[in-house]
Amino acid sequence: MTSFREIPPGTAYAGPETLNDAVIRIAGNSQDGIQSVGAMLARLAGRSEMDVMTYMTIPATISGGPSIFQVHMGSGRVLSAGDAADILVAFYQHSYDDHLESLRDGGVLLYDSTNVEPDLDVLRERRITPVPVPMTSLTIEILGGTGKKKGKNIFLLGLLAQAFRLDMEKIRRLLGEVFGHKDESVLRNALLALEGGYAYSIGDMQSFFTFEEPRHEAGEAGVTKVTMTGNQALAYGAVAAGIRFGAAYPITPWTEVMEQLRYDLPRYGGSFIQTEDELAGIAAALGAAYGGVPSMTGSSGPGLALKSEAISFAVMAEIPLLIVDVQRGGPSTGLPTNVEQSDLNLALHAGHGDAPRVVMAAANVEDCFHLVIEAVRIAHEYSVPVIFLSDQAIATRIEAFPLPDLTSVLQFPGAKPETVDSYKPYPLDRITRHMPPGTRITDGKYPNVTGLEHDEFGHPSANPKVHMAMTAKRRAKLEALAETLPRPAVQGPKAGELLLVGWGSTMGVIREAVDRAAASGVEYSAIHLRHLNPLPPGLEELFRRFERVLVVEMNDRDANGCGQLARVLRAQYALPHIGGITKTDGLSFRIGELLARIEETVGGHAVFVGPAVSHANPNH
């Protein structure tokens, strides 16, 4: 521990800071179980009523390879996975080499001194505190030869528990839950490694910072939180929404949703099947939906593309269906394990002909639960397919959110066969609500459900007036839906120089950026859109109150600098002051990056765009 406490020359040591939220980045290989230790940290944070958000990368190799897991936990409103880390944990030399940059000046480097040799000069210059721990050798010491592979992550958990003064009782209980159903020795070893890490002296790290478990804002105290990934939340949300049948084909990063539903749905009297391909997936889901059972399919971009033809059918035949797209980098096979928001165009336009459908996008993990319930409700209320967009970042990151009040959110929009006098499947005077097969129709005229243009009974018709009327009908129901949508809440002033517009997983970053700008005395505003088609009311008026509207999205720009949503808004409102901030590097926006891009675009503001420290509360 030679370098511990070394203060960089020329930098006055200002005493410990108090962090009330902290970003921990763990860098190693994916085999090291860093995901699971990260997930446990997140769970712990959730249980302590802290906010938490995680972020991870997945290696390019098929199994194994360098990987990181980042946890942002702490006070009040953790909205992004964090920018620069307060603590970097480096298991290997490559972890150190690749990630030192992401550690903020003045942060802590916790490294496995069995494998890593840091450049002390650099650390000194950047006021980084190195904390060497021979993690590999200590774990082997504690657990014997196999510990190197299996226990290092839990040892690290112990170390972090020490550094952050986490509640060891809670951790032990968590380990019990995680490993309890396995061979007894597994849990015993885990506990051994944990205690080892907790006991290992990392010196007076607290003299650099103290982590204070945040007090919660009024109203939030005592709230029980659940901690999970976006894909998990989506699967649970689907159950709560009433989905009882699903059919799909695996693809990253969508697969976990179907895996979980395949496992869970039978408990609810439902079923989720793996089909031979995506075309069969949507077809089977449509078949069950036609049967009156709330149904879903899902995929990532390539699979959504394959479902295009059937989406057009769902619009024409007016069948309610939830279609999930967990977006990844495109086009084609693209960047399967990176984030991008480049499927919006496809979501809006997949399929041929005039085929209006609903498109919604989750802003975070909690949305994956709650918004999907709304999506399924809309699908059934308007007999329309709803494309629900998530993305790789939301899908894989862990967040804590309040345990949903199921009594108020549960729904079951399924249709039960009844006996009716007569029935028109496609009435022109109201929104289609299908009666499922099994419905007895006493006037003896049974309906056709069809992809051909049809009259009110579902008979094929090429009559010009019929096609006009039916086309208008399919459009008008979305216009009716639009009127019912909530106007998005504005963060910041209701009028002014700049309005940022976000959708999908950029929400947290945009919010923090606006907060940080405000802290620097610059007033930006922001809204976040969850309904992308139809759009909620009031946007035009709102946009007109700002000098500039910038849509922040992770996809490519056009000649005007506009990304995919920005173009939709321009098409809708023809307002030339709508522009865009886009990017295509396959990574989530960082706060500093976004602020810099805003400055670059609007020019001349004095927003602080250096490394992220706003979440640290300097105490000196």
Binding site: V226, P266, R267, A283, F313, L410, P417, G438, K445, N448
Partner: protein
Amino acid sequence: MVHTVNDTPVCAEQRPPLTRADLKADKPTWCPGCGDFSVLAIYQKLLEKKNLPQESIVTLSGIGCSSRFPYFVNTHSVHFIHGRILPFATGLSLSRPDLHPIVFIGDGDAYSIGGNHFDHCARKNVRLMVVVMDNQVYGLTKKQTSPTSPVGFKSKTDPWGSKVTPINPTKKLISSGATFVARTAASNPNHMLEMMEAALDHDGFSVVECFSECVQFNPGSFDAAVPRKGGAYPPVPEDHDVTNEEAAYALTREPFPGHFGIYFKVDRPTLNETEGGLAESPTSDTALKDVRQQLEASLRQLT
């Protein structure tokens, strides 16, 4: 068979029996003389004979002349997209065990664009009856080569005559694991009725491959199977063991017009059985309380 429609078991006897008049719908738009008329008539006869509750019958199709079928029979019906009606019907079959989904499609829909779905429905043994109305041509799009068109067939896409080996439907079905495979022809209504009835009675994936002449674009194609046109209609040999896969396979290799009758019939658990979940009629909403308890328990594990 007892159905749970409207939540109470309905016995067919409580109602006046289903008649063919009840089953009439739009006037068929097929060309005069098209074999499909006969398939339709026999289907209506079958439904009359079986006297199933009308509302429990679902007539499904893809796209093609043959797939216009649903408009001409008065049941709940779906006219889906080209080649995908099998997975659609799979979803319906799994989620609504109280219904009788019956699929009518053409050879192009079934074996060209939809070929893969057949194989997977077959191996999974989805509870589903399918009638393939095979006219060995694309009728609706006006005479292109179909996957069952014989070598030498002249079409708009093979003006010099097709040169590729056609798909052998019964061979494909047997080898991919269908549990009921029969062969019939629209020119022989009685036999067709017999085959369709056996297919409907089969618990599993049952396919009737049925010659149905396209008088417009492939006239005379099945004359060799029509006795009154000098052809023969050889039945499946009496001693054929329908549970013997290899024997059934051998039968599929006979030269045109081959044999007619049941080639293969075995029992294997259906996907509907192994995917038991949905048997509990998820369309009932009385279970929402149970849903709450179950889901709450799952979520609490993540606190």
